[in-house]
């Protein structure tokens, strides 16, 4: 008897919660966040959510969408594919989210892809390794389906292209590749080979390494034997430091070496110690200290305004301006789409795909049915380490 009473109470509570949710949803517009907020990569989701809340705040202060306030409902995906899927369902079914921000990682992104088609809900990933332009869009086009996935980062492939263009411009001819033995490495090596061919560079070595390794002189000496004049790949984190040291030990510190944008931090420069010669990177302009942007660059004011607004709202800097800007731009993209075409997912999707000069904090995006990243080659910069900063180079 007692147990039944408890059950009835729970059922009533559940009904109340759901109706309350529905009533609440009626006069607010819900955006859903599905980032990993805890664990080793949790800070990325944290920065993204802060950025998104800034954009939503700004929109709400201007009156929201046709008088309705926007609210961000978030669930922690823990950077786990199963949790990301559950969160996506919850956000769509229970919270009636109009569009979804996140997830971060490639595996999560792939897992929720079918759900976005089924529910006609736009969602936006973070990882540069998501093969939205390289694989997913062409597949969807072939099947005559519309893709609801966006990824607002430069991406591994575009980074490769930007660097290949730069290497060509500098007169380099012999490109050596070094990539980790994982999915990111596969993508990196494949795209470098493609762009090397396109821009007339010769790939003289293709080395891979185990990220758990302690010494990479074997790979680097094979690269040395191939006599390259430029080295590139996507080494990230601790192994990058060892690889750079190994390059220098083998007397190749004069050869430019492009590493992953995950290394665009001061702490990476500190870890390199003396081994900071000729280390390059590719990134969107948000990654550059604003002082280095030319006054004539329209993005300079946008970035400075964004950073000022962020500091005013949160009274702190994000861990990374890059991820904060990704979250900001994602929310902004949804807000502008809703302002233009309302809250229908399919209409929002079509509207976003048509934007050719969408002003975000990170970059000016130009989307199409073959580019759901939208940060063009001209929006990216090649950077190198100077002193203890990453600075742009010509």
């Amino acid at each position: 008897m007692k147990r039944r009473g408890a059950f009835v109470a729970m059922a009533i509570a559940a009904v109340l919660v759901f109706t309350a949710g529905a009533l609440y949803a009626a006069d607010t517009i819900i955006l859903g966040a599905n980032y990993g907020m805890t664990g080793t990569m949790g800070w990325i989701g944290g920065d993204c959510v802060d950025g998104a809340n800034l954009a939503i705040d700004q929109a709400n202060k201007k009156g929201g969408i046709k008088g309705k306030q926007i609210e961000l409902v978030m669930y922690d995906s823990k950077n786990d594919a199963d949790t990301a899927r559950t969160n996506f369902e919850k956000l769509v079914k229970r919270d009636k989210a109009i569009a979804i921000l996140g997830p971060v990682s490639n595996q999560e992104t792939e897992t929720v892809l079918p759900l976005s088609d089924k529910n006609a809900i736009v969602y936006t990933a973070v990882s540069g390794g998501v093969q939205v332009n390289e694989r997913i869009l062409p597949e969807y086009k072939k099947e005559g389906k519309k893709c609801y996935l966006w990824a607002l980062t430069v991406g591994t492939a575009r980074q490769g292209e930007v660097f290949a263009v730069w290497a060509k411009k500098k007169g380099f001819k012999r490109l050596a590749l070094i990539d980790p033995l994982d999915q990111m490495g596969d993508l990196s090596t494949a795209t470098y080979e493609q762009y090397a061919k396109k821009y007339g560079l010769e790939v003289v070595a293709k080395e891979r390494y185990d990220v758990k390794g302690t010494d990479f002189t074997t790979q680097m000496s094979k690269i040395k034997a191939a006599n390259p004049d430029v080295i590139a790949g996507m080494p990230s984190g601790g192994p990058t430091v060892t690889i750079v040291k190994n390059r220098d030990q083998l007397g190749m510190s004069h050869i430019p070496f492009k590493v992953s944008d995950a290394n665009l931090s001061k702490s990476f420069i500190t870890l390199l110690g003396e081994n900071t010669k000729n280390i390059y990177n590719v990134a969107a302009k948000i990654q550059i200290p604003p002082d280095y942007l030319k006054d004539s660059d329209s993005q300079k004011k946008v970035i400075m305004d964004f950073q000022k607004a962020f500091k005013t709202k949160f009274n702190k800097e994000p861990k990374s301006w890059f991820f904060a800007s990704v979250g900001y731009d994602t929310a902004l993209m949804y807000i502008k789409a809703m302002e233009a075409v309302g809250t229908n997912g399919a209409k929002m999707r079509d509207w976003i795909e048509k934007q050719k000069a969408f002003q975000g904090a990170q970059a000016v995006y130009s989307w199409s049915d073959s580019d759901h990243r939208g940060i063009g080659v001209e929006q990216c910069v090649v950077m190198m380490i100077k002193g203890d900063d990453w600075v742009p180079v010509d």
Partner: protein
């Protein structure tokens, strides 16, 4: 070109020795504990990680010196080894091998968890022990840091050998390993010997960890992959044999570098473990191991 090819192969061998010596340092600690207690201590990799981490932290304290930091780190990790034996192995183990293995695996995770809480997920660097960055040899170059690692590994092996053969404590630990009950009857404090083995192995692990930190940085998860290779090396060399652990570790490193160099990196692990299985198939007790009586 001939000379270029030669120096490339010399380079592979030197790279292999660099990695192999690191694996040897893990394997020696692992083999030592096994010899005395017949426990397979899967937390050995964490002793390395903790050694490196504590040395970095101690070194960053104002007024500290590298030497002081290293000594403090070795002492701390040795104490952790003793506590691990007292608090977990002795209390929960009671000589059942399967339970002991589970306890050491749990210990490995526990140490990682604590290290994560203290140091987070960042990589940490430490200054080199030698001024020179590299040593040249036959047209190949090697990280100068290899020299102290190699010398220390050989030194540790020698000292342990003398310890086992010449000292009463060493003989007592060997006795414990071979005839546990008989040793007890002879008045050897088996439990105390177990503690001693954990203390020394933790200390050796810490030294290894400190030495490799300038080569490959240190991070809370760095222990496990090193432990896997080190343990594999110790098994190939003959579990319980200190020289065997050294030899096995070097073989692991050389195989890894040569297979990555001559064939391809992505086949390296497969080649290494096929060779290891062949060795164990032909000589199940390991290269220098004694036949089971």
């Amino acid at each position: 070109m001939e000379h270029g090819l030669l120096s490339l192969y010399v380079q592979f061998v030197l790279s292999g020795l660099t990695m192999g010596t690191i694996y040897a340092m893990v394997g020696i600690g692992f083999s030592f504990i096994y010899r005395v207690t017949t426990v397979l201590n899967f937390a050995q990799g964490e002793f390395l990680m903790l050694g490196g981490m504590f040395a970095i932290t101690m070194n960053s304290i104002p007024g500290s010196s590298l030497g002081l930091a290293v000594a403090a780190a070795i002492l701390i990790v040795t104490a952790i080894g003793i506590l691990f034996h007292r608090g977990a192995i002795r209390v929960l183990g009671k000589a059942e091998p399967v339970r002991m293995i589970l306890i050491t695996i749990a210990g490995s995770m526990f140490f990682q968890g604590v290290a994560f809480l203290i140091w987070g997920t960042d990589d940490y660097a430490m200054p080199s022990f030698l001024k020179a960055q590299t040593i040249s040899f036959l047209g190949a170059v090697v990280n100068a840091q290899l020299l102290p690692i190699f010398v220390t590994a050989v030194l540790v092996t020698f000292i342990l050998k003398i310890f086992f053969d010449k000292t009463i404590w060493g003989k007592a630990t060997t006795a414990c390993a071979e005839r546990r009950e008989a040793s007890m009857l002879m008045g050897i404090n088996v439990d105390r010997m177990g503690m001693l083995s954990f203390a020394i192995s933790a200390g050796i692990g810490a030294i290894g960890g400190i030495l490799i930190t300038p080569v490959c940085l240190m991070q809370y998860q760095k222990g496990v992959p090193l432990a896997i290779k080190g343990i594999a090396g110790a098994v190939v060399g003959g579990l319980g044999n200190i020289w065997g652990a050294m030899l096995g570790g070097l073989i692991m490193g050389l195989l890894e570098a040569l297979s990555a160099g001559v064939v391809a990196s992505y086949l390296s692990d497969i080649i290494v473990f096929i060779v290891l299985m062949l060795v164990l198939f032909l000589k199940p007790q390991g290269l220098l191991g004694k036949k089971a009586s």
